[in-house]
Symmetry: C2
Subunit: 550 residues, 2 copies
């Protein structure tokens, strides 16, 4: 009997870019295909996706891509993937509806999309997959039970255990425990909040905070949240109705997602509640709520534009209340802080995570994670979705829940976990990594390009133009110096003269055979300038000698 | 009677760079001269300091610089300032000892430094300044009471109200209340934590957490904290002694600060407690504590180097316990997270703010800020040290504490607040701003240079070399294309060919008079490439046409 292979392609060394492969003999199924938003080292990059060359090489084996929910860290790489391997895609209605929008943007609409419902089973090659309802910060999320030749695998997807979900759709305890009774070989579970003690609050807790704020506010209320958080949008609408306010939605993604969710019945908007954004100034201040995005300080969002008074319809005035109903994603603290400063300066009252309870997480905390292990009682355990420290904390919880230490595997992206009748073991690693997407081209940004950008960002660039007579190897004119991001040339004549003197000296000192070897000449110029900049200025610009032969 | 002028030069639109001026007739005193560490927009900058050209212009009026405590956001600009205006500097012993080290680095040791003690009064021009003990995260901090011709001004410095400070030196309630009784015209107070409810925990609370951790740990203990936090260092030493462990200190700044504090009697180290860092491997694991810096993920720190296994003496092994005893400064979350991941991967147990109580703030929370207002009962109030939102929150607290709304001034850097017998009012603004320090030169980085760096960081640079015959205005050879941080030239021949074709076409289409006007030619090349990159790739590199005339 061949071994089953479990290979994570992304999501195990980072938050985001979630993607995993289950492979048995000639059948491969892919679970999720997510993107990751760039960190401060990925200069100028729009986002990163997993390197899925393994799937391209094994294209003919791939039976399907299964999506657990519609967040971009689980679906954002899908258009890139199915352009390469045109496999069928399975997901719940909202997930597929969101994916369709993305595919439209990519002008790739010939994908085979199959809608599934919770408790439905689908045959994927030698696997049978059942979709199991979970609660999360986006509606219509599912976990997976995968029947394989070596036993049952449970994949939780992203989840929390919300006892009072806004749409009333509970996590399907019964299906998880039924599989637990049958015997589960392996569980993969969401580690995002494994550092956090206790239980994650129910999404409904946010409603109480909203009610408090609405009751006290006489002016306009402006709420920024994530465009995909349909539950949150529903709660804003419900509380607005309760307090007789109309709702105007602004921002491309949140308008699009609300329309989709409304059409599919996931969002219930009483008639007469929505008004056109263009009409907000026709209502009394205490009669409207404006729902928008930009809670992370994104520079082009509606919220950013109103903060710096560059929005032509919505102008902040004293009495306005702005609620940032979202978590602060690490790295965004400063830009969010700036937006809050601007809004307050224009007279708005701003409510944000630090000063009030207006957001809850979508991910399970420690107690919920242990509960999930109690329900499923897996033999082997692989923590997924997290950086190493999250996986490590999740591992401790698994041990506490009775899973044997040697049956727990902290994998890295590309690790191959093999399971057969003799048990589970790590066996090798496939090539994986990140592809950086910048603008239209996939993989347009290589590591070397990023390295250059980091140097350029640090100290700029110095270009040295040297013209040489091709035949005589004589330098024709004084070298020209051009800089960008290094010094202000107009006010730095002393430094420029220093460079010129140094260059003339360097060139004078050169042997004739150096002048005839372009590469050597460039190296000499570069090294003498490098030393000069370090000693004289403690800086390291990118130095670029350009030799022109005539 | 002339009006007194209060002018903040820094610290009111940012966290850091604290500096203010009090001016009356021919007398100016400067309070603090701090730096700010760069945010993500200040690419390649080491730090920023306030533009103090106003003080240079009024050099002959400046009677003294008064320092409230030794943190760099209050003293880091001092070397730059006193190189320009050689005024006497007043501060407490530890503050001046730390400043002396900085002056040594700047090779400027002729400064006039005057040591003062709490409750001491000093005459500065027409002002009399009394130094008043406050508690903060560095020892020997003071607030100021300034007797001026228009009444008393209280400046709190950075403070918290710690009922059980590690060195037993309480905030001097009596002096603050005595001035409160006399009648205080204006108070300036620290706004850093004005968003935070309740009381800030005492520094001694950290000791309990340390004791818990020490009691449970059998391996080595490695603690990273801020080099200037002498209280924290004292507590580590005390708990180490309690648990019979030796202490090794590693890292230039923390070794230097500990020596200074020890010499001045602010740090008490029982004999036989300190061991040499080089000797750590000669002791049993349960017999040592290693104290170091790097809690913010600084790439060259000891902690970073041990995390990636590049330290030649200290190698992490399973059983090691690492404590990050510091707050996470916004913007550093990701680099700190990466260090935690690396340390855990090597087997260390890592304790950090998110998972345990191993740090307390040095700044007063809401209840303490109100208490300070009750002690001092000022007529006018100016919140200092904070971004706009902190100042705004502090203003609300002031109103609640009974200060009239119209007597509260939220100032911006450079604003001139005038006070005379008719009251206080805003009256004009002086030129101010930030000077960026990068490497050795002051003000070496101008805003335009930073703008270029941001563009370079985003999409790199494309250099186009065009050679023209000077007399005939004919293009001699094919344009050459050189890129950095844009594409990998080796694998992007399609794009390069596209650029070449476009360039030939652009140059062919040009009139002869365009070719004779270099600026026009550059503009044409730039605009046609710009359009091409935007449409074809959705990118915006810096485009740099270089025209060589021969």
């Amino acid at each position: 009997m061949p071994a089953l292979k479990l290979i994570p392609l992304g999501g195990l060394e980072e938050i985001g870019m979630n993607m995993a492969i289950v492979e048995y003999s000639d059948d491969i199924m892919v679970i999720d295909a997510g993107l990751m938003f760039p960190d401060e080292n990925m200069l100028g990059v729009d986002f990163a996706i997993p390197d899925f060359s393994y799937l391209i090489e094994n294209k003919e084996k791939v039976r399907a891509v299964i999506l657990t929910h519609g967040h971009e860290d689980h679906t954002g790489a899908l258009p890139f993937l199915i352009k390469e391997i045109n496999a069928p895609v399975y997901g719940t209605p909202l997930t597929l509806a969101l994916v369709k929008e993305k595919l439209k943007e990519h002008k790739f609409e010939s994908a085979e999309l199959y809608e599934v419902r919770p408790r439905q089973k689908v045959k994927i090659g030698c696997f049978t997959v059942e979709f199991i309802r979970v609660t999360h910060s986006i509606v219509d999320g599912v976990g997976l039970a995968i029947e394989t030749p070596v036993g049952i695998i449970i994949h939780t997807g992203d989840f929390k255990i919300d006892p009072t979900p806004v749409d009333g759709e509970l996590l399907d305890f019964n299906r998880f425990t039924d599989y637990g009774e049958l015997g589960v070989t392996l569980m993969m579970s969401d580690s995002t909040n494994a550092e956090k003690g206790g239980f994650t609050f129910s999404e409904k807790e946010v409603r109480r905070s909203f009610e408090d704020i609405f009751a006290k506010t006489k002016g306009r209320i402006i709420i920024a949240t994530f465009a995909s958080n349909i539950h949150r949008i529903q709660q804003v609408i419900d509380v607005a109705v309760q307090f007789s306010r109309k709702v105007a939605i602004s921002g491309k993604s949140i308008v699009c997602n609300s329309n989709i969710a409304n059409k599919l019945g996931y969002l219930k908007i009483p008639e007469g509640t929505l008004i056109k954004f263009e009409d907000i100034n026709e209502y009394d201040d205490n009669k409207i709520v404006i729902l928008t995005t930009g809670s992370q300080g994104e520079p082009m969002s509606v919220l950013s534009r109103i903060a710096i008074n560059e929005h032509n319809i919505l102008k902040i005035k004293p009495g306005d209340k702005v609620i940032l109903s979202a978590k602060v994603i690490p790295g965004n603290e400063r830009s969010i802080g700036q937006i809050i400063n601007h809004l307050m300066r224009r007279g708005a009252d701003v409510i944000y995570e630090k000063v009030s309870e207006i957001h809850v997480s979508g991910h399970a905390s420690k107690e919920e994670l242990k509960l999930m292990m109690n329900l499923v009682k897996p033999k082997y355990f692989v923590p997924i979705h997290g950086e190493y420290r999250h996986l490590r904390y999740h591992t401790k919880l698994a041990e506490k829940s009775g899973i044997k230490r040697e049956n727990i595997f902290i994998l890295e992206n590309g690790d191959v976990l093999e399971i057969d009748e003799n048990g589970a073991r790590l066996n090798g690693k496939i090539k994986t990594g990140r592809l950086y997407v910048d603008g239209k081209d996939l993989g347009g940004v290589e590591d070397m390009v990023l390295r250059d950008r980091r140097v350029l960002a640090q100290d700029g660039i110095v270009i040295i133009l040297i013209t040489i007579e091709r035949m005589t190897r004589k330098i024709i004119s004084d070298p020209e110096i051009i800089t960008k991001g290094f010094i202000l040339e107009e006010t730095s004549s002393e430094i420029l003269n220093g460079i010129k003197e140094l260059l003339s000296k360097t060139l004078r000192d050169m042997e004739e055979d150096t002048l005839s070897d372009i590469t050597l000449l460039q190296a000499k110029v570069r090294s003498s300038l490098k030393k000069y900049f370090r000693n004289r200025m403690e800086r390291k610009p990118l130095i670029m000698p350009i030799i022109i032969e005539l």
